[in-house]
């Protein structure tokens, strides 16, 4: 969590946390379609698990960093 705050800023992490909390709340979640729940959950999960640094073969990265590793994993 601390690393995510340093990387993204406290406000961003709080916003992602709020979206996560809403989308995983057993009562509120029922009101949201599944795709929306995933979209609300994903930003915090991705902030906490930075991504497929394991394998550049998966990542459309160049030295410019033009590729987005998160996109690359998907």
């Amino acid at each position: 969590m601390r690393k995510a705050r340093n990387r993204l800023g406290s406000r961003s992490v709080v916003v992602r946390g709020l979206a996560f909390t809403l989308a995983t709340n057993p009562l509120l979640a029922r009101l949201l379609p599944r795709r929306l729940r995933e979209a609300a959950i994903r930003p915090l999960v991705y902030a906490l698990i930075p991504g497929p640094s394991e394998n550049l073969l998966y990542a459309r990265v160049t030295l410019l960093g033009a590729g987005d590793r998160e996109d690359a994993e998907r």
Binding site: A23, T24, P26, A29, R34, R37, E38, I41, R42, V45, Y46, I49, G51, P52, S53, E54, N55, L56, L57, Y58, A59, R60, V61, T62, L63, L64, G65, A66, G67, A72, E73, R74
Partner: protein, 490 residues
């Protein structure tokens, strides 16, 4: 009149620095022209900062409609080795003889046995760990012993024969930590040619023009007489070389010739890459305690070689040690309402029962995959390159299909089902465009067919592409060229 220099090498990647090393060791003078900056500690930087953005490091490619592909390469001292994932197999003996053996496309003008001494030299230069593998004759004497097989290799390997150690640089990037508890030696930082660059930087006779593009070659008769250079600030200069070695990759080597209006032979045509697929293979039972010392440790040649190559692509299979990437599964499970112990157990079960398998497949060489000059120009007035790479052909797709079918069949004792199929990292192997051979652009010694003091090496010289990763062969060709030039000068 420009400055007179013995050998000009264009590009400072694996090819450029290995050619330079041979020449400098023989007492010759070499100047390397590199668009990027010379930072000898660049391998300690995050990948995104290894290339310094300037006017000469713009990635000046556009893609043709219907031929889009994202190409990975970089402008920095060390070249694209700074992006190298460290996987270092040789090619198969048959990869050099596709015409003779199967009637396909063309043979290489050199064979596996011709390249063997240079494979050994390349494996020493790149500090490759490996061991005897049934796919590669005379593969017993790698400079470093192979990492111990991972737990995944121990489980899958016996079912995927011929199976053996994956040759790989022992030195891995900090972004590739041993994913699970390490069994082998501690993993270091590197996996690129900066160590060789540091040696060369301290050697007599070696110099680098960093932040400089080789804009054009000027010729007279059958010789290159000048290399026109342009710096990031637009400053132009000229070099009068005794000889020139273009040591960039399939896009840049072709672009240099095309900008110089040297269109002899199929310059820019037959661009090649591999088809990469990543399969998630779910098994009935957990794979047991995970262990691995590096990212990949084993290589299967179960679909690499056979008479069937007349109709479908050769494929090699590498179990991937870090295991299943769980983020998206985690998101999905959370969206389904899983939480607490249930969620943890679900993820642990998924992870322990899912093997991730990387597959690299050979595609057919195609003339409609090419590099050409665009009508547009970059900030320095150099034409952009326009690259066309139509999607994977039937030859490669049939190769992928056969691996999918065969994997489930061979791994049936483990209850294997393929549950995920992702496209892997295309665009990192920039092959062809200036290939060697009588109908190509260079001869078996990588010399241009018409210009007696111009040589082209690197992935651009590949006449066909194999399914195997090209780096060791690129390094072997560079060392072979370097030694040829030393003999030639003598």
């Amino acid at each position: 009149m420009g400055e007179a220099i013995e050998t000009v090498v264009v590009g400072s990647g694996i090819s450029g620095l290995l050619v330079a090393r041979e020449l400098v060791a023989a007492g010759q003078e070499v100047t390397v022209i590199e668009r990027g900056r010379m930072r000898l500690d660049a391998d300690t930087f995050p990948h995104a900062q290894r290339e310094e953005p300037t006017a000469v490091t713009e990635h000046n490619t556009e893609t043709a409609p219907g031929g889009e592909r994202s190409w990975k390469y970089g402008y920095a001292f060390g070249g694209s080795s700074l992006l190298w994932a460290g996987v270092a197999p040789r090619l198969l003996p048959s990869d050099f003889e596709l015409r003779s053996r199967y009637g396909l496309w063309r043979d290489w003008p050199i064979g596996y046995d011709d390249l063997l001494p240079f494979y050994h030299a390349a494996e020493r230069a790149l500090e490759i760990s490996g061991g005897p593998h049934p796919l590669f004759p005379s593969s017993a004497d790698y400079p470093l012993s192979p990492p111990p097989p991972s737990s995944v290799d121990r489980l899958l390997g016996p079912l995927l024969e011929p199976f053996g150690p994956l040759p790989i640089t022992r030195r891995l990037e900090p972004e590739y930590p041993p994913p699970i508890e390490a069994e082998g030696p501690e993993v270091e930082t590197a996996g690129n040619v900066l160590a060789i660059g540091r040696e060369l930087a301290a050697a007599d006779g070696f110099s680098v023009r960093e932040g400089t593009a080789a804009a054009r070659l000027r010729t007279s008769g059958n010789r290159v007489t000048e290399v026109e250079c342009i710096g990031a600030d637009g400053t132009q200069s000229r070099i009068v070389p005794k000889r020139v070695v273009a040591a960039a990759h399939g896009i840049e080597n072709a672009a240099l010739l095309l900008r110089s209006d040297l269109r002899d032979g199929p310059v820019g045509r037959w661009l090649g890459d591999h088809t990469h697929v990543v399969l998630d293979v779910e098994l009935d039972e957990p794979m047991g305690p995970w262990s691995a010392s590096t990212r990949d440790t084993g290589l299967s040649g179960a679909w690499a070689e056979g008479d069937w190559r007349v109709e479908r692509g050769s494929a090699v299979v590498v179990p991937f040690n870090p295991g299943l990437l769980l983020r998206d599964r985690l998101v999905g499970a959370l969206a389904d309402g899983a939480h607490g112990d249930t969620l943890r157990d679900q993820m642990a079960d998924l992870f322990s029962r899912t093997a991730v398998v990387y597959v690299s497949v050979e595609d057919a060489p195609r003339e409609d995959r090419y590099v050409e000059l665009s009508n547009r120009k970059d900030r320095l007035g150099l034409p952009l390159t326009r690259v066309s790479y139509p999607p994977d052909g039937d030859y490669a797709i049939r190769g992928v299909q056969e691996v999918r079918r065969g994997l489930e069949e061979r791994l049936a004792p483990l209850g294997a089902r393929i549950v995920g199929n992702r496209i892997g990292g295309h665009g990192g192997h920039l092959l062809g465009t200036c290939f060697m051979g009588p109908d190509g652009v260079v001869d078996e010694n990588l010399r241009h067919h018409r210009l007696e003091n111009l040589y082209l090496t690197g992935g651009s010289a590949f006449p066909t592409y194999s399914a195997l990763h090209p780096t060791t062969t690129i390094a072997a060709l560079a060392i072979r060229l370097g030694r040829h030039l030393v003999r030639d000068a003598a």
